[in-house]
């Protein structure tokens, strides 16, 4: 399943920490028309680059679907960043 939300937390020095809950589902809905518009460009790029377009689309979709539960966090004494996709 594609990630539907992300939790982002940023702490920078003495500034107030930022904690955001991002509804990615809305972002995907907004990006969908753009993706449809870019589809011919992607197909042409695949043909020019000698990449099988349908196979590439399937793999990219699979990667996109597997992003769920990915965590990246950086902790430094003066800065910390964490993103969790789910």
């Amino acid at each position: 399943m594609i990630p539907f939300a992300a939790e982002l937390s940023i702490r920078n020095g003495r500034r107030r920490p930022v904690e955001l809950w991002i509804p990615l589902a809305l972002l995907w809905i907004l990006l969908l028309p753009l993706a449809i518009l870019l589809l011919p460009v992607f197909l042409i790029a695949c043909l020019v680059g000698d990449v099988p377009p349908f196979q590439a689309t399937a793999i990219l979709w699979r990667i996109f679907n597997s992003l769920n539960d990915t965590v990246l966090s950086v902790d430094k004494p003066e800065f910390s960043f964490c993103i969790h996709l789910y």
């Binding site: 539960d69 990915t70 004494p77």
Partner: protein, 147 residues
């Protein structure tokens, strides 16, 4: 002779169990240690399939003492599985470049030989992977493992 075996023989001598029953009991006793030893070799509980690949980097460089920088990445194994399939869509020209680069670095390997099932196998075997890089001079510790 262990205690259980002696007790079975005593029961047989007293006539409380028949010879057949005693034989079955002893056979069962003999099976138990074998099963126990295999369980001790592996885990007693069935091995859980790892769900994530974790990369932890701990660095003391450019930080105050006692407060290391930490980078923690948790990647789902299914993302790795999907990612390795990208090899199959690498254009032939790019593949040749990669093969040349590998050969130059002493790895005579042909990427076109990699099949999706091989990659699946590699990812499946990652559960036993633990890489610890601990460089005292660099003050950086890298740990890669599955959980």
């Amino acid at each position: 002779m262990n205690e259980d075996r002696r007790r079975i023989l005593e029961l047989l001598a007293q006539g409380k169990v028949t010879a057949d029953e005693a034989e079955r009991l002893i056979a069962a006793l003999e099976k138990e240690p074998a099963a126990g030893s295999t369980a001790a070799g592996a885990d007693a509980t069935p091995k859980k399939k790892p769900k994530y690949l974790r990369v932890q980097v701990e660095s003391q460089e450019g930080t105050t003492a006692g407060n290391p920088s930490l980078v923690n990445v948790r990647v789902p194994m299914q993302l790795l599985r999907a990612g390795v399939r990208l090899v199959s869509v690498i254009p032939a020209q790019a593949r040749a470049h990669v093969n040349d680069a590998l050969r130059e670095n002493g790895v005579p390997f042909d990427l076109s030989q990699i099949k999706p099932e091989n990659l699946e196998e590699i990812v499946d075997q990652l559960d036993d992977l633990t890489v610890d890089v601990d460089q005292k001079n660099e003050k950086v510790k890298v740990k890669v493992f599955c959980e």
